[in-house]
């Protein structure tokens, strides 16, 4: 009976993990990736978003330092990194639960 309870809980937790993964993967796809690079031209600074698109590295102008757009992208990049870690943890948990259920 105890094994039935544990199996049931693990099945529920597996479903929950898959749901959580779906949420975070969706978020992950919608956030900016890459890193922000600031270029000095004369006495002015300009920010570029560098990211990889297939084989190419794209350098996209996003604004001057501290502008709303630059700060928003900076926050998104930071959040994306955290989400990447969460996705990694959830995938490990999913594998562990699946292994336990075998």
């Amino acid at each position: 009976m105890q094994s039935l309870v544990i199996k049931g809980i693990l099945e529920d937790e597996l479903e929950r993990t898959k749901r959580m993964l779906r949420v975070y993967l969706k978020q992950y796809e919608n956030l900016h990736k890459g890193s922000i690079y600031t270029k000095q031209v004369g006495n002015r600074q300009y920010c570029y978003l560098n990211y990889r698109n297939g084989d190419k590295v794209i350098s996209e102008y996003i604004g001057v330092p501290n502008s709303e757009k630059v700060e928003k992208i900076r926050a998104e990049i930071s959040e994306r990194r955290q989400i990447k870690q969460t996705i990694k943890t959830l995938k490990i948990e999913q594998r562990e639960i699946e292994r336990a259920l075998r």
Binding site: V5, I9, R19, M20
Partner: protein, 222 residues
Amino acid sequence: MIIDKEQENAFWDAIEAFRESGLLNYIMIIGSWAEYLYTNIFSDGYEPNIRTRDVDCFYPNIKKPKTNIDLFSALSARGFKYDEDPFTRVGRFVKENLIEISFLSRTLGAEQNGPRKIEALKIYSEGLRDINILERYPFHVKVREYELTVPEPAIFIVQKLLVYPVRQPEYKKEKDLQSVKELLPYINASEEHSERLNIIINHLSEKEKKLLKQVCFDNNIV
């Protein structure tokens, strides 16, 4: 109960978001996190040993309050993400791999179990008839700086026993029985809660009393 510190922190973050948004007075924490809160009532060693990541919040009156509650902002600020079932539209908040918050509501009269919109939150809850009885016996427990509502421990076990014959999936029957068997000795040992258990049982219909007696007999619960 072994509680992961991060998970516990995520739970209290959610409670703070409930307080900040004005939601806290409208919900009752049920399920395994209610058992976690019962450890503050029965301080003499009560330790439920099953805890899952889902935090079930029972919303007894989905029409209240009349004003909006901005739970989205309060939870988003604490790192929670919102997810909605594409078919039922039932919403949930998740935080990393730690907890998942879902809302449950009553099913009344001839209504079928199913999604119910909580007007103030603008999200859909899951309507369940089986939990209606919990609303009649709220218990306020003060933990940290919060006053939280949980079902009275006595109704917590009575409800589990009453739904036992129809509880699905099958493993939840056993899980519920385990919860009852863990909590009951502490209720019996408490003058206040054992008296409440008797009162609650006396308030049940004859049909419910008979059912309760049968479930207890079948499962060696005394």
